[in-house]
Symmetry: C4
Subunit: 254 residues, 4 copies
Amino acid sequence: MEEIVIRYIGKKPILKEPILIEGLPGIGNVGKLAIEHLIESIGAKKFIEIYSKDFPPQVFINQNGTIKLVNNELYFWKAKKKNQKDLILLTGDYQGLSSSGQYELADSILRIAKSYNVKQIFTLGGYGLGREVKEPNVLGAATSRRLVNKMKKYGVIFRENEPGGGIIGASGLLLGLGRLYGMEGVCLMGETPGYLVDPKSAKAVLTILSKVLNIEVDLTELERKAREIELIAQQLRSLEEGIRKGKEDLSYIG
Amino acid sequence: MEEIVIRYIGKKPILKEPILIEGLPGIGNVGKLAIEHLIESIGAKKFIEIYSKDFPPQVFINQNGTIKLVNNELYFWKAKKKNQKDLILLTGDYQGLSSSGQYELADSILRIAKSYNVKQIFTLGGYGLGREVKEPNVLGAATSRRLVNKMKKYGVIFRENEPGGGIIGASGLLLGLGRLYGMEGVCLMGETPGYLVDPKSAKAVLTILSKVLNIEVDLTELERKAREIELIAQQLRSLEEGIRKGKEDLSYIG
Amino acid sequence: MEEIVIRYIGKKPILKEPILIEGLPGIGNVGKLAIEHLIESIGAKKFIEIYSKDFPPQVFINQNGTIKLVNNELYFWKAKKKNQKDLILLTGDYQGLSSSGQYELADSILRIAKSYNVKQIFTLGGYGLGREVKEPNVLGAATSRRLVNKMKKYGVIFRENEPGGGIIGASGLLLGLGRLYGMEGVCLMGETPGYLVDPKSAKAVLTILSKVLNIEVDLTELERKAREIELIAQQLRSLEEGIRKGKEDLSYIG
Amino acid sequence: MEEIVIRYIGKKPILKEPILIEGLPGIGNVGKLAIEHLIESIGAKKFIEIYSKDFPPQVFINQNGTIKLVNNELYFWKAKKKNQKDLILLTGDYQGLSSSGQYELADSILRIAKSYNVKQIFTLGGYGLGREVKEPNVLGAATSRRLVNKMKKYGVIFRENEPGGGIIGASGLLLGLGRLYGMEGVCLMGETPGYLVDPKSAKAVLTILSKVLNIEVDLTELERKAREIELIAQQLRSLEEGIRKGKEDLSYIG
C-alpha cells in the first residue's frame, strides 16, 4: 500500500491559479472550525479524499450506522466575482501521527496544489494562550516580508518571536515545504484559551480571511456556536468555583 | 525483507465469490474466539500464512517443544448448500503493532481477497462496556444503508454514534479500506465487560453470523467456555468483595 | 542508505554446509557470553560486519581512544575433524531497536546464511527466572519434533509451554524466519536469575553445545568469570540484607 | 517525498579536499555554539540546506514575521593561507528524531562530503559531567591511533573508556559511518555541566580546533557569552541556596 492514497471524487475540476487554504484539527480546533464553516458557507465541493498509513487505523460511525475511514479532504470553489480567486480547501479528521507522516502528507498535498498551479497558501490555526481571551487577536507568520506587511493592513498581528516555539504541524509545514515548491503563504492563528473548541477564535480568523479573499461569509452560525461554548465554559467555571469553595468550607470545618 | 510475507500452504483453492470474515485479537478476544470456533466447527482449511515485520519479533512454543513464528492465517471453506457462500476466514496471533503496519496488513489481506473476487466482508469484535453484561447485544456498523437495514432484521443493533470513538484496528480498517476496493461489509461487535476473554459475547456474535451465513454452528463448546469464565469472574468478584469488607472491618477497628 | 549494510572483511571464506550459531545481547547476556567464549576458544575469524539504521546511532570508544560503530559481526570456523561441521558465528553489540528492524536484521543474516548453504541454526540465550539458580538447566525449543528428541539426549530440557511468552528477539526470529528459508534449528536457553551477566549459565549452554558440535571448549575462563560474578552477587545480597536489618532496627527504635 | 531533501543555495563551490566540521545541537549545545562562532568568525558561506522527514514538522518564526522550516545547513570556506585547508561546516536546528533518521542524515552528509573529496572530519560536542566545571578539558576520540597521538599534542585528552557510553548522535555517527567511506576523523568533546548552554566549553573546543586548522579565531564574543551564562548560573545557585536555607529555617521553626 502506498504511504498516501489520493482518491478523486468525480471528474477533476479546472481551476485558475487557485489559493490553497488549510484548516486541520489543532489547538481549539480553530483552523478546522474556520474552514468547515467556510466550505459550507460558500458551497465548496469535495473532489479529493486522502488516506494515509500515518492516520490512526480507525473508522468513524455515521449517525445512520455507516462507516467512514478517517481521512483528509480537498474541496474546490470557483470564483464568482472578478476580485476573487478560485480556492482549494483542505480539512480532515486528523493530522499525521508521526513526524515523517506529517511531512509526507504536506508534500502530497503540495504536489496536488502544484498540479493546479497554486501560488499562494493560507493555513489556519489556533494560538493557545492557556487563559481566557475576551477578543481574540489573529497572529500571523508568512513566507516573505511583503506578505507580512500586506497582512498587517488586514489587522493581522506579527509579534516578535511569537509563537516562541514556531508553528508545529500542517499549518507550518505547508508554508515551509511550500517555499521549496515556489509557493508563498501566510499562517493565520486565532488566539484561544485552547481548552475547548473555540468558534469565537475561528470567527476572528475567518473575518480576516474573508476580507483578504473578497468573499462574504455569513458568520452567524459561528457566533451561535461561540455562545454555546461560552455557556459551557461558564458552567465549567462555576463548577470549579463550587469545588474550590467547597474545599474552603471543608478546610474551615476541619 | 518485504513488509508482509504471504505464504501459501498447499495449492490455491478455487472459490466462488467468497465472503471474507475477520476475527483477530481485540477487546474480550470476542472476534478471535468467534472465528476460531467457526473455523473448527465447519472444518475450514488453512491455505495462507501471513508474516509481517510489524508483528512482534516473537515465536511461540508449542506443547511438543516446537516453535511457531507469530502470524495471521487465512482459512477457506466451500459452501455445502445452495443458500450458502464460500468463505475465507482470517484469524491470527496479533494485529499490527503500528498504525502503518495495520494499514499495510489490512491492505495485503484485501488484495488477496480481491484476487478471490471477494465482494462482502464481515469483521467480528467486542464492544467494551467496562461493566457486567447479562445478555450481550450485538452492535453493528456497515458500509451502506442497505446493509444496515438488512442487519437490523437479524437482530443487530445500530445505536446512533456508537461506538463513539468509531472502530479501531483491523475490524474497522478492513471495512474502510475495503470500500476503496469496491467491497461492502459489516462489523459485528458483541457487548462485553472487556476484562476477561468473553466466550458469551463471542457466542452472541456467532449466533447472528451463522444465521446470516445460513450455516449451522454447534455453540455448546462456547457455552461451556462461557460457564468456565463465569466461574472465574465470580471468584474474582467474591475476592474483591472480601477485600472490600476486610477494609471496612479494619476501618471499624481502627 | 540501505536499511542494512553488509561489509565483508577480507575475502569470502569457502564453507561446507556450515551451522549458524547466534549469541546476541539478551537476558543475563547468556548468549553473547557463550558465543564470544566459543569464538575465542576455537579461534574463529571475523568475515562480515553488519551495520543497521535500526541500531542506536552510537560509537563505542576503545581503550586506545579509537572508535567503533555499533554493529553485528559474523565469524567463521572451518571443521578440523571428520565429525565436526564448519561454523558461522553471529554476535554483536545490539539487537535491532524496533520490531521491524529485528525482522530485517534476522532476514539479512538468513540470506547470508542461505548463500553459504546453511541448513541448521543454533540460537543461544538466557531464560530469566527472577531468582537464584544453583545449577542452571538448559531449556530448548526447536523447529521439528525430530530435533526436540535429538536435543533431549544431550540433556536439553523441554517443558510444556515454557517459556510461556515464547522467545522474543533474534533467538526466536532466526528460527521462525529460518523455517521459511528451509532451515531447521534449535534455541538453547540457559536458566539465569537475569539480574547480572551470567557466565555460569553461559557455561551450561556451551557445555551442551560443544557436545552437539563435537568441539572441545576450554571452559575455565567462563568458570573464573562465574566466580567473580558470584562474589559480586554475594556482596549485593549482604548489602541488601544490611539495609533490611537497618530498617528493622530503626523500626524497633521508632 | 524523499527521506532527505538536499537543496543547493547558489552555485556549487569548488573545494580542494575540504575538511568536514560538524556542530549540531547536543549537551550544553557546545558543538553548535562552537561551529556557529567559527562560521561567523571566518565568514563561511551557506551552500546547502538539508530538510528531512525525520526533523520535527515545525517552522521557526524569524523576528520579522517570516518563517523558516527547520533544517541542517552546510557552509563552505576556502583556505586563505598555505597551511590551511578548505572547510565544509555543518550545523542545524535539530538532529534526526529517530535512530534510523540519524543514520540517514549522517549518510546523506557523508555522500555530499565524498562528492567534495572530504578525507577528514572533525565533530564537535559536549561531554556532560553533571557538575560545575572550572576549566573545561577537551576530550577526544578518533578513527585511528595515528590521529589519537596527533590530537594529544594539541592538548586533547584521551581517557580510557571515556565517555563510557560512547558517543551518541551525529558526532559519533559521522566518524563511524565516515570510516566506511574511507574518511578519518576526530571527535572533540568539551567538558560541560550540561545544564545550560555552555559557551565556555565551546571556547575550549574552538581553541584547540583553531590550532589544528591553523585558523585564527577571535573568541571574545564567546567569552562575553560565557560571562553572561556564568551570571545566570550564579543567580540560579543563590536562588537554590535561598530555597534550601528557607527550608532549613522552616524545619527549625516547625
